[in-house]
């Protein structure tokens, strides 16, 4: 039994291996990029707009609203990063309805790469917003004794992000495979419907957590936002 799509090798030439994770990731990227390019190449400002433009507008404004709700007051600045995370993870998880498709998020490599991006983006946004000195000072926040714990929590939440998404997606396909051998007909359908819901929720969680981490890093001591959402993994 395969634990991840990493082990499904489609093409091999000496040192280079093309596994299913890479292939499906690039396929998704191609579909997302070409799709949005096709939609956005003739946008209309008037009241009559195409169906696809409406769809994209709903998606973009929805993501913007969610980011704003978390406590980032200028969502336009962060939507490039957080929106991309959400769209990629959501489409990777939703495409499991296509037969023969293996979600690239069921591989620890993909989720670790996404989580590492969050690990890198949080200090970058924090330094940009607060300045290097103030940002570094926030690590020693209540007292200097908390410094190692803050650094550990930074690393452990990255691990948690990666393993959470990987575990959820992997368990979905794994439970499906096990159920197919026990009760072949009806039950796997119900479980795969549940898997779609879990995939969507996980995409949402991943994005919201990244947004919460960025909000915590960019929140200076002088400017406290009205809504206090601090969730720590």
């Amino acid at each position: 039994m395969r634990l991840s799509p990493d082990e499904m090798i489609l093409w091999r030439d000496g040192f280079f291996k093309l596994n299913a994770t890479i292939a499906y990731t690039w396929g998704l990227m191609l579909a997302l990029t070409v799709g949005s390019m096709l939609v956005t190449h003739n946008l209309s400002l008037g009241l009559s707009r195409s169906r696809w433009q409406n769809l994209l507008e709903i998606v973009v404004t929805g993501i913007e609203k969610q980011i704003e709700d978390v406590g980032l007051r200028r969502p336009r600045k962060y939507i490039a990063f957080l929106g991309t995370l959400f769209l990629f993870v959501a489409s990777a998880n939703l495409c499991t309805v296509i037969p023969g498709y293996e979600p690239p998020t069921a591989s620890l490599s993909t989720t670790a790469a996404l989580a590492l991006w969050v690990l890198a983006a949080v200090p970058l946004f924090g330094i940009e917003e607060q300045g290097l000195g103030d940002y570094l000072k926030s690590y020693a926040e209540p007292t200097i004794i908390m410094l190692p714990f803050n650094i550990i929590s930074e690393l452990s939440r990255t691990l948690a992000l990666a393993v959470r998404l990987f575990g959820n997606m992997m368990s979905g396909s794994m439970i499906l495979a096990i159920l197919l051998t026990i009760t072949p007909f009806v039950f796997p359908i119900a479980m795969s419907a549940l898997g779609l819901l879990t995939g969507m929720v996980q995409a949402y969680i991943f994005t919201i957590l990244a947004a919460v981490y960025i909000a915590a890093a960019t929140r200076g001591r002088k400017s406290r936002p009205e809504m206090d959402t601090t969730i720590d993994a």
Binding site: V163, Q202, I205, I231
Partner: protein, 93 residues
């Protein structure tokens, strides 16, 4: 009993124990979280969107603990490094 049998027995038993014990805590936690969210929804239906969002985020965090246990037990069963080591050694002989 040789090493391979010992590794197999301990892996299988530990995998079962991991998922069994590891799902108790998250189950209790999720039950408490949902119960509290429902009672606050009944008290303040206006705050439904905030409560639901926080509930979903919290549930996914609690659930991820159970998922960690599941990942560990899956690794023990399907991708056990000690087992592959023993198998590789036996194949090398």
């Amino acid at each position: 009993m040789d090493n391979a049998t010992l590794i197999a027995i301990s892996s299988i038993v530990t995998a079962g124990l991991t998922i069994a014990l590891g799902s108790i805590g998250p189950a209790l936690g999720e039950g408490r979280a949902v119960a509290t969210a429902l009672s606050s929804l009944a008290q303040q239906p206006d705050a439904a969107t905030t409560i639901t969002r926080t509930l979903f985020v919290g549930l996914a965090m609690i659930e991820s603990i159970a998922i960690y246990c599941f990942v560990v037990s899956m690794i023990l069963i399907f991708a056990n490094p000690f087992w592959t080591h023993v198998v590789a050694e036996a194949a090398g002989k």
